[in-house]
């Protein structure tokens, strides 16, 4: 009887959102109560912030074409990591020299900064991320054209 009732509620697709939202809320409450989760000190991709650098969040430091030490999980898989810490197009070079905030323009100016870790050691991530965007655009454009 109870299974019948539950399945009747679940089969109504209008109810699926509230049920899922309830489950998420419940789990978030549990997560908040279990909160002081242990923090692992030796993080894989450490970040340092240098507010005086125009490439701020993406600045890995080091002169160009001299390999710097980048902390990776498997350094043997990407032996060339650390050579090109940032690649600036002429426009982004101009922006880096005139403002302090080039690092914030990465979205509006793709290719302006190559983040070493993102593109060299975690390249598959960026491929999948853009694929998600592409699929979303494909669905949206199809629905728009269908009218």
């Amino acid at each position: 009887m109870i299974i019948q009732r539950i399945s009747r509620i679940i089969s109504n697709y209008e109810m699926i959102m509230p049920i899922f939202a309830g489950a998420v809320t419940l789990l978030f409450v549990v997560a908040i109560f279990s909160l002081p989760l242990p923090y692992y000190e030796e993080q894989l991709y450490p970040k340092t912030y240098d507010p005086t650098s125009p490439l701020n969040p993406y600045d890995r430091g080091g002169p160009p074409f001299v390999q710097i030490d980048i902390k990776e999980q498997y350094p043997e898989n990407s032996p060339t990591a650390g050579y090109v810490t940032s690649y600036l197009t002429p426009l982004s070079w101009y922006m880096a020299n005139t403002t302090l905030y080039l690092g914030t323009t990465i979205v509006g100016h793709p290719g302006g900064i190559l983040d070493e870790i993102l593109y060299n050691t975690r390249g598959l991530d960026t491929v999948v991320e853009t694929t998600i965007l592409f699929i979303a655009f494909a669905i949206a454009s199809y629905l728009y054209r269908k009218g």
């Binding site: 399945s7 679940i10 089969s11 697709y13 209008e14 699926i16 959102m17 899922f20 939202a21 489950a23 998420v24 789990l27 978030f28 549990v30 997560a31 279990s34 989760l37 242990p38 923090y39 692992y40 000190e41 030796e42 993080q43 894989l44 990776e72 999980q73 498997y74 898989n77 990407s78 990591a81 060299n120 050691t121 975690r122 390249g123 598959l124 991530d125 999948v128 991320e129 694929t131 998600i132 699929i135 979303a136 494909a138 669905i139 199809y142 629905l143 269908k146």
Partner: protein, 220 residues
């Protein structure tokens, strides 16, 4: 090797920088299942639903137009590739990305259907998939913070790295939100869409990501 992977010892490990793709007996069998079904989606033609008027000779044949067929086949193939990626990846953040790709492809498969009921169901499912990204990527971020790594190989070979139970629960809930389609729609709504091989891809991909997330949760 501290612990044994319940999916078996990997046959070989493909290296994409820090992201290892590993082929263990478990992941390989799921991968082959996704591959075979993707090939089916490529070569199959959509079914034609026929409604017969009871007590008479009349019937309605539901045609799938070519434009609709194209977008749905494309989405089904993309969904197949996304499931294949999710089956074999050995990196947690990459896994969550593939899962959300599967979620959005599932919406895309039925989004082209010209049926109010199906579209409503797809919309509700899309909202669930959207909100499920919060626990999903939140879990990946918490795993990175609590263990300092995202590699599954690292997590199962190093016994000192323990992921808290609540974080695993967040991951499972996120995957549930992304791959929820068969759990409520198998009975009714999304599967009313005509065009069988493409719609079944929703169900199969959800089944596969569930089987994979079980392995992931046991491994990490």
């Amino acid at each position: 090797m501290g612990m044994v992977n319940p999916g078996g010892i990997p046959y070989f490990i493909l290296e994409f920088g820090d992201e290892l793709v590993y082929f263990s007996p478990y992941t390989v069998s799921l991968f082959i299942l996704a591959l075979v079904f993707t090939i089916f989606a490529v070569i199959a033609r959509p079914e034609r639903q026929v409604d017969i008027v009871f007590g008479g000779d009349a019937f309605y044949a539901k045609e799938t137009s070519l434009a609709e067929l194209k977008i749905r086949r494309f989405m089904a193939i993309a969904c197949g590739f996304a499931s294949m990626g999710a089956m074999v990846t050995g990196d947690l953040f990459n896994f969550t990305l593939f899962i959300s790709l599967v979620g959005i492809c599932n919406v895309g498969i039925v989004a082209a259907v010209k049926n109010r009921h199906v579209q409503n169901a797809a919309y509700q499912y899309g909202i669930v998939a959207l909100s499920a990204t919060v626990p999903l990527f939140g879990a990946a971020a918490l795993i990175a913070a609590t263990t300092g790594t995202l590699s599954m190989v690292e997590l199962w070979s190093n016994a000192a790295l323990a992921v808290p139970l609540v974080v695993k629960a967040l991951l499972v809930l996120g995957v549930m939100g992304e791959g929820m389609a068969p759990f409520y729609a198998a009975k009714a709504e999304m599967f009313r869409a005509p065009g069988a091989p493409y719609v079944i891809m929703c169900s199969l991909s959800s089944l596969l990501i569930f089987l994979r997330v079980i392995e992931v949760v046991l491994v990490i």
